[in-house]
Symmetry: C2
Subunit: 334 residues, 2 copies
């Protein structure tokens, strides 16, 4: 079948041990011999059998990249940026195995033999179970995007509460006082954080928000659309809406234009995430940029550090978010 080190050994007139050492650049082997063996390996188009390597070295060369879910609730852009970020770091050294946590019926198959390290892009508290499983197995782990307090876990995320605070403060500075909130998907930590930022800004500036100005959403276009319809039906409409993500903001804008009104002339809208299309809708959406690609890059980098130095760095890193001002907010005259 395929070429093994024994085939090379035979041709080179040495033992397979010598070949193994030569190809791993061991200092025990003479430079001259190494060169000869490398040449033969090249000519035979030799590729190491990673299953055999894994078995004896107790490493899998696999990196797990797990999302809370692949089938529902994860936005395409988010998903894409996360994979890109991680992928740009690992290059050739590892294989990237992508999976949705909700696809696992049992975590049994997640062992130190099958993953050298795992990155969880977490969007829900429900991920706690798998996190604990991974930690208990002693697999190096980094959790992105959601705060986690479990011991022994690297944790990298953006400060979403701060981002939401930023966005809402901006609305208030534009003299808005009737500000409504379209919340994120229930159970997602990000939904809570963003709402917290909203509430803090309101409190900080002493703005009263009636209960009907808060409607839960599902992070998708449709729920934003529906929520906005409800706001529009109100007797005293809000003059501005903070939507917990861009997709819902888009749905909201759609509802506004369907009602014969205009953004930002009649109602201002702010989103969150700075999705690729935010800059290109009409009007361009003012939103909060969350450095997902940077988070996943940073996470992958540190995870590799932990794996290769066998250390156990375990801090929490908060990366700052940034307000991107575009055209969807109007400054009210005071």
């Amino acid at each position: 079948m395929s070429v093994t080190i024994k085939d090379i050994a035979k041709l080179a007139g040495v033992s397979h041990t010598t070949v193994s050492r030569a190809l791993n650049n061991s200092p025990l082997i003479q430079e001259e011999t190494k060169e000869r063996i490398r040449l033969i390996a090249e000519q035979l188009d030799y590729t190491p059998n990673y299953s055999a390597k894994s078995l004896v070295l107790d490493r899998s060369y696999n990196l797990g990249l797990f999302f809370t879910t692949l089938s529902k609730g994860t936005s395409a852009g988010f998903f894409y940026e996360a994979i890109r970020g991680v992928n740009s770091v690992i290059q050739d050294r590892y294989q990237l195995i992508v999976k949705g946590i909700d696809d696992y019926s049992s975590f049994q198959s997640i062992t130190r033999k099958s993953f050298d390290g795992i990155i969880i892009v977490s969007q829900s508290d429900d991920d706690q179970a798998i996190i604990e499983h991974i930690v208990s197995k002693g697999i190096p782990l980094v959790v992105l995007n959601r705060p986690v307090t479990t011991a022994g876990v690297l944790n990298i995320l953006s400060d979403e509460e701060q981002g939401a605070f930023l966005a809402c403060s901006y609305l208030i500075e534009q003299s808005h006082t009737r500000i409504a909130l379209i919340e994120g998907r229930k159970g997602f930590k990000s939904a809570q954080n963003r709402k917290d930022g909203f509430e803090r800004a309101m409190k900080h500036y002493g703005i009263k928000v009636p209960p009907i100005y808060r409607i839960p959403g599902l992070y998708d276009l449709e729920s934003g659309h529906k929520a906005m319809q409800q706001f529009l039906a109100l007797e005293e409409r809000p003059t501005a809406v903070f939507s917990c993500n861009d997709e819902m903001a888009l749905g909201a804008m759609k509802a506004i234009s369907e009602a014969g009104m205009q953004v930002p002339k009649d109602i201002s809208v702010v989103g969150f995430d700075d999705t690729v299309f935010a800059a290109y809708v009409t009007p361009a959406l003012t939103t909060v940029r969350r450095p997902i690609e940077q988070i996943s890059k940073e996470g992958a980098l540190r995870l590799l550090g932990n794996i290769e130095n066998k250390q156990h760095e375990t801090e929490q890193v908060l990366l700052k978010t940034e307000l991107v001002v575009r055209e969807s907010v109007k400054k009210l005259s005071t």
Copy 2:
């Protein structure tokens, strides 16, 4: 360290062979013995070492999912749907390894030992090299999204030429005669197919298209924006634009509104792909739906069939696209 079948064997008072057979549900073993062994395995929280299995069974349990590129030119939605489709099919049986073809400096590491099968979501003719490598290694392969003639390759894609024809015919049926084209990224097969559909429709209905009505784009928002600006600067503007994907269509719509005009009142726009946001922009975008998730599902399914039955199905499957009529096209009065 971790539990092996030998540990179980010792506790059960049998040989490790018997344990192996029992856990693989071999008919050679007494039902009673099997039950006893399964129980012990469960209690010890045994997990098979997949490296060892792979080594002896000559299977990796890995499925490769390769994209032409992860870093440039692949749209997030496209990427997301493809992964979802494949993932929904493979469930627990395989690990899904995601990679960008342009990340490979050498294909050497792609062997039959490291991948049981490979799915290529191909967007460029440049992928031919890796396709040939994979075929030469005898790895089961399915190529999605782009037509491929290499022997021994399963090929599943949508009939994009037909989709473009559909879209352009629709424009013509709405009495448009000055129809412009924003082309896709050069070198991408889809760009060629969609253009072909455009040309066929024009020819079929006997519509003349001046050369300046065709501008190449890059499949991103910005290039659509720029292309539209050029159309708008023309003395005799088109009344309708067929954009080779939704993102460029969005960019085009942006340019139109910046010029103080409206879609579809002043200019009609049709896109391609039916991206998630197409339904929620204002006006909602008329576009061509390409069943990516279905394509990748179908592809994964057939690939698994080929792997597990050791057969070599090698046909080309064309899945029909569908025109989604929304609000971005105006019927001209004749």
